[in-house]
Assembly symmetry: C2
Homo-oligomer: 683 residues x 2
Amino acid sequence: MNKTILLILFLCFLNHDARSQNDLSETLNLMPWPKSVVAKPDRFVIDSSLTISIQPKNQERVHNAAVKFLRRLSGRSGVFLNEGFPVTDKQGSIHITYDTASKLSIENDESYTLNVADGAINITAKTDIGAIRGLETLLQLTQNNATEYYFPGVTIYDAPRFVWRGLMIDAARHFQPVGVIKRNLDAMAAVKMNVFHWHLTDDQGWRVESKVYPKLHQEASDGLYYTQEQIKDVVAYADNLGIRVIPEFDVPGHASAILTAYPELGSKEGYDYSIERYSGVFDPTLNPTIDITYEFLGRLFAEMTPLFPDDYFHIGGDENEGKHWDENKIIQKFKKKHDLETNHDLQTYFNIKLEKILNNLGKKMMGWDEIMTPNMPTTTVIHSWRGANEGLPEGNSLIAAAKRGYQTVLSNGYYIDRMEPVENHYLVDPIGDAELTERERSRILGGEATMWSELVTPLTIDSRIWPRTAAIAERFWSQAEVKDVSNMKKRLKQVSFTLEELGITHIRNRDVILRNVTNNQDISALVTLSKICEPLKIYSRNKGGIEYKTYSPFTLFADACVVDAEDAAPFNQAVGRFVSDSNNSSVNEVLAYLKSWAENHDQYKALTKNPKIDPLETLSANLSKTALLLFKAVENKSLSSENLSKIKEGLVILDQPFVDVEVVVIDALNTLTTYCENHYLMN
Amino acid sequence: MNKTILLILFLCFLNHDARSQNDLSETLNLMPWPKSVVAKPDRFVIDSSLTISIQPKNQERVHNAAVKFLRRLSGRSGVFLNEGFPVTDKQGSIHITYDTASKLSIENDESYTLNVADGAINITAKTDIGAIRGLETLLQLTQNNATEYYFPGVTIYDAPRFVWRGLMIDAARHFQPVGVIKRNLDAMAAVKMNVFHWHLTDDQGWRVESKVYPKLHQEASDGLYYTQEQIKDVVAYADNLGIRVIPEFDVPGHASAILTAYPELGSKEGYDYSIERYSGVFDPTLNPTIDITYEFLGRLFAEMTPLFPDDYFHIGGDENEGKHWDENKIIQKFKKKHDLETNHDLQTYFNIKLEKILNNLGKKMMGWDEIMTPNMPTTTVIHSWRGANEGLPEGNSLIAAAKRGYQTVLSNGYYIDRMEPVENHYLVDPIGDAELTERERSRILGGEATMWSELVTPLTIDSRIWPRTAAIAERFWSQAEVKDVSNMKKRLKQVSFTLEELGITHIRNRDVILRNVTNNQDISALVTLSKICEPLKIYSRNKGGIEYKTYSPFTLFADACVVDAEDAAPFNQAVGRFVSDSNNSSVNEVLAYLKSWAENHDQYKALTKNPKIDPLETLSANLSKTALLLFKAVENKSLSSENLSKIKEGLVILDQPFVDVEVVVIDALNTLTTYCENHYLMN
């Protein structure tokens, strides 16, 4: 065959794949969507005889993944398996082979092939990591009918688009115990994420035991820190799941906790450093002009680096406004003496020294994008976070970094604490339409979702991370062309449900909070409200950081509400269909929602009041009143001008924030009102 | 005053207290009920100015308890406190004083006085343990109206009846990770329990890292064990809550796991020891006739005892049937040579050697009641467990042990894994009407609820322990006269709800399981069924241990059901009232339940079927059919003989076990049927 024919055949193959993916993604709830999925007529029935074998045997990662696979499969299918562990004396009906066991790094090969046929499943991979990624895909294939569970016949070839697919959890603002971290690692592995970025210190607390500088955890953590043994335990747990752990020790800013323990390292003499209880950007900053700062960081990092075997080490470096530097005359003199014009130059001076310390300890230094200055060596790794919110173009520093020779990772666009709809993150492509050379492209390692914890506790953090992060995981793993939002949302619904299997509490804890809010009364009235309310977005909940302290209650109505509120999209879509064609069936759907909201206030009123539910009265009453009037208008195709006024009054009220939530069906209600005004208004 | 007047005054005082307790226990949901509670007209309002101070300062237990108190109070009230930590520069509005910090032992003084007045609360205690017990009582006092939260004015004096108030968790049959243990320790502390008995090894697994005998955790745990650091962490966590930790290493029986690792210690040569996957009593037993057994146990216990600083150390010693001893000729010879007539004598020989080993390590040996034999030194502690189920009189060995000079602890009657109603445990008094001398009485230390884990996993264990164990905790703490079941149940309902605050998952995980059972469909039909179904009782679920293996699924309908099913008691009581007076309002209550069950099957049928819900069809259909016919009979006061036959057929079917549950309204339905037959049957 000549090259042209080969090319045509190759394009046909690609095309066939792409077409299959589109069709199959309507029936298979795989996430992230694999590189190539081809259906077969086969079916592998899950019954008690199912067994797993692994070649080579006795390797920890695959063995553990296989055991967990069996437990999860048994739990979700109800099948009593005869064999609860991989079999070693024969080939299992699921057979896993791989070539080499991995030491985790960005070089890891995570590709795998999965073949499901009648009675036999094969997973083959170059590495153990690829094998466990394949097992997760297999589990996502689980389907059932009335009488049996089965895996549908498929041939899958899969490999990730980016090598760095991360989730950052901030354990500083609100401490997150080991159990929280582990269950989130399980969830990450389920959607093939491979980097856990652990934000371990900030103004609000230092969270790691230090034997060299014990005042750090003793005086700057309120007793909430990880022991070194716990760190090792978490790192080993993550390693077993094929997840690298990158610690972050944020310096020289965000340093209130460090300076609470060691004020002599601070930039402002006589300042009364203490653990910060509010959120925001604060002044306490390490003094980059004194030797003891570097001695401290050198010894500290020498203690910390062995706990975190990964090549990369994050030093933060963000949001240092240098106010205390400006106020310190000696620091000003130092800048002059060393020809450091700006505070940014001084921070670069600091960063370059840090980079050498870390380099000597065998680590690549990583930092937020502020560290990218002209003098910064390209051995550092740039973590791009700033965007429109900080007055910069979105994702700009990522492309700039790649072009300037830095390895780089994107978080701008993936700030899940902003409480934005899933598609806002899903549609952010790390590269987009940037034109890059092959070499520049290779420097873009991937991205990280960031879970800053100012407003989350162990009770609520899962519902802020999941399920949206699964869609971000798909962005990092799947091909750029996989970006159909409605198909993603359909698959995400199933992924969200199965995350409960791993202990993720994002669904179950809503009712826990609502039981607390009602003092254990019937929560159904509040459940109805919570399905159309979302927490205030883009940091407006905390009003510049002054409403909530770290020890304020996060057990309130807003904490039970989540992004992508359950009833909002179906209602908004039904209204959209209705106003474009009022004869279609969507009218019944619209009416059903309106009726349920109209009636909901009776249930609300039946609750014995307390100070936690009382502020919802206005929301509940106005929603009920407005929904009832709209219901009548739509049902009777008739609206009086008096009722129109009342509806509009109600909508104005509902458009306000209530107890830190917003009603996210307000636009659809306005649309519906306009429609009724145009079509049903009586003169 | 002469002695008679003093006595009269004293009795009046006692009487006043008792009266107050009875009245107040209708409004205050305290559990365990304190020794003396007197109401005052005062009210302490909970607002942002609330502060806590502690004298002496900086003591860990009280400080930590105070911080947790502030978080829990803020979380449940929604109040944004100005001060999130104990104040040190002034006296707080809640002021705690105590005399001494404790080293935990059975000698600890846990008494406290709590005084709530307008704007000022005082907790005073002899020890820090007493102080933290008082803080839990204060938190239980929290009340609210529509506009504020407050503590009602009271003066409470409190002290426990028994010094040993324990919960045993079996981490061997199903491993329970550290997070499960810690949240249960929190819950124990909330109801003033003070002993965590940790069952760490059994036929199904060895659960502690051993550096001396590493094959134990490496080869006999499936990788599910506590590291020594985790053990220390849990012990320190418990200590902080005033909870002693008693480890149990069960020998010489229940030894399959130990012998999987070290078969040379076994009694049957050439036996293929392996970790047991089923439940039951098994044959593998340590060989008590060879020196290496004692060398092993000596070195092992020398390694383990420093991890568990408590004075007491539990060696199990139960359920050794000695089958392998009988089959071993050398052991038979050994018995003859040492004049050991029975296997029980041989086990006593073994126990006496163990007692010396432990004594040398500074420990008091504790064991299940089989170890109480004529030759056993009275320095051992007898843990009474056997009762009617084992063909013995209930609680018999406890009284016998006390009379024979042993310290003793009761678990017979507190086997919460038997899935019996709460009152069955609540009404078991450790002493009952036994006549004991003061000295004998002092040997009865208290009791322990036992959570054996054959049929529970981390997903379900909380709902098997709680809330019933809170009532058992009251039995151990409160005066014997506190035994009004209906009052206890009223208070227990509130305690159960507040346990969610501590992370206990007994309520939230029901829906997790039902979402799994339905594959994430609307669970309301199954919720309705789960409220009148309970898991099969007294071990009948597992049919002699052969149905469930340790790795079988515990994610099924039975796992969502709990003892004391929510709707059972109200329905059963309503039927009781109805049949004694059919004109009272209970008829409406009865009709409402019948209607909801009659209609429920429509919802059930709307579910897309799968192999997990399919077996509930018969239950749902027959409940619906029978309830509808009964509804008509009661509503119309008329029943045809044809319908009576149908009802009776339905009840026969509903009286069968379905998928490991039983319908617990069956007696009431039968009663109602008989009533209808007697009053409404048409000729």
